[in-house]
Symmetry: C2
């Protein structure tokens, strides 16, 4: 299995580290597994004989670039190597789908399997990308795009294949959940946000998280992949957490409730909004974990939780997709 | 796919109902799926052309017997039909493995795939049964044996195949958790137990649950299947909940803790005991749900919860194993 890593940022680097950490396991599943290309926004590197993951990681750390050659068009890099799987970890662009969208389309058109954790292409062009994959006999997997290391996409599509999933409600943004959890202790929004920024949970421009955009992307991916809907980002009714006041949280607490930013999806619902959740409910959790409650016809409620972000955690979701692709090819 | 249902009690009946409910889905995966035999302790029925699940369910309800013929030796029933999968739902016998053990061994010896929810055979003879399956090219699956509808066995073995699972700690017995949750509100043990019995959560002889035996069986199954250990029921250090006092619970509560019956398994630990759990921790949940926290090397903590018992819920776990077997054969 010949792998190309597109977008060698935090997650791409984490994935290279994971390939190294799990080299014994992976070679036992596929003795020809190797990275044949890697690129970021500034540089690229290719080697048909296989690149050493640790050298890529080190070069990126030392120089800020994964490759030794100045970047050309990413699709040209893809055309210049023989490969089997594109691992797209390029940054999310929710307006256009960004570079990732072009890379994914290019790979699928050429019948290559794709693993992506990039929410932009999936939230904007899910149906088109899946049709492209199907038409060209390729596989598109994206476990890490929703909930990071929390198992949900493959769990629903594979383990729960016999169930009819009636609804999914969940906490899909650890930054918002951290802020709301801190507000539970009496902090005002601005202070909780500042704390999240100081701890590295929130970006200096936190709007993508706190306005509910990130959660909306995930809700769209779940709607299309688990509920076979054909919706896009603009179809989601979105309310973020910026207008959640300390007073509202105190009032909720008086009634043994907390406020959490919940993404909800079913055959008819597609919504992101702050909701009152009874204390003790699976969705009343505090901190940065992601949590989802999946309601099915036979099993009833199934709840899953896990780390929604993080270099190695997100890479672990890519690894699970990679192993599924290897198993499928055997 | 020709199915034999052994042990047509609550879960066997639930599985027949599920086969009927999901007949469209199942026929789309395998157009030759049918039940060719079913038996309980008193009776059996076979039909190479396929038995109607609803007639089986009705006869069992009306007469207490699934079949029209008086039961002979179960392995003789197995020998009298051509079949592909044995679904064993016979009752758990933790001393000898019971009838289920003989049926499973018989099926595996003849190269038939087996799905079981019967903890006895798995807790007593896990290694032997797996070796038998491997030797004869058969598959042994048992998702429903731990946690009912809570996904855990296949999640660890398949979705998390790339992870090294470091430990699993969980609430694997809904009856005990119900009793302890009620004790959180101030009820003494005896009264909470009586309530559980009145609600049908606990048997008239509740020792199997409250002495931790049921949880120990599940811990053994996890140890053997997820941690590749070779342990049996007698290897588990077991303390039940019978000596948990109202005073201990009140004292725990003063320190913002609850007491829960936790099964823990790792490469070195194999234990069932009441533990202090901080309120707000994923394992501090109340009620009859099962919950497990899986700690892995890459993903960190992953928590799952679901209904640990119930006719349709346990049958849903059998369905997921059945679909995996169908997919594997395609």
């Amino acid at each position: 299995m010949r792998i190309v890593i597109a977008g060698f940022g935090t997650v791409g680097r984490g994935f290279a580290e994971v390939l190294q950490m799990k080299s014994d396991l992976l070679s036992s599943l596929d003795d020809k597994i190797k990275i044949v290309a890697a690129f970021d926004s500034k540089s690229y590197v290719t080697d048909a004989d296989g690149l050493d993951p640790l050298i890529l990681v080190k070069r990126k750390k030392d120089t800020g670039s994964v490759g030794s050659d100045a970047m050309k068009e990413g699709t040209d890099v893809l055309d210049s190597v023989e490969y089997d799987v594109l691992v797209d970890t390029s940054p999310t662009d929710i307006r256009t789908g960004g570079d990732g969208l072009r890379y994914i389309e290019h790979a699928l058109k050429h019948g290559k399997d794709v693993i992506t954790v990039n929410k932009g292409p999936l939230a904007l062009k899910f149906r088109e990308l899946n049709e492209l994959a199907e038409k060209n006999g390729a596989v598109l997997r994206f476990e890490g795009s929703v909930g990071g290391a929390m198992p949900i996409i493959n769990l629903c599509a594979e383990n729960l294949k016999g169930e009819r999933v009636r609804s999914i409600r969940g906490i899909f943004n650890g930054t918002c959940n951290f802020i709301l959890s801190r507000m539970d202790t009496g902090l005002p929004f601005e202070q909780a946000l500042r704390e999240a920024q100081q701890l590295g949970y929130a970006e200096s421009d936190p709007s993508y998280d706190i306005e509910g955009i990130d959660t909306a992307c995930k809700v769209v991916i779940l709607a299309n992949s688990i509920f076979s809907r054909d919706v896009t980002f603009s179809d989601v009714s979105i309310t973020g957490i910026t207008s959640v006041s300390a007073e509202a949280i105190a009032l909720a607490s008086d009634h043994d409730m907390v406020i959490r930013l919940i993404g909800e999806v079913s055959d008819t619902v597609l919504e992101v909004s702050p909701r009152l959740i009874p204390k003790g409910h699976p969705l009343s959790v505090s901190g940065t974990l992601n949590t989802a409650q999946i309601i099915t016809d036979l099993a009833g409620p199934i709840t899953v939780s896990g780390r929604g972000a993080g270099r190695i955690e997100t890479a672990s979701a890519i690894l699970s997709d990679l192993i599924a692709i290897i198993d499928r090819r055997r």
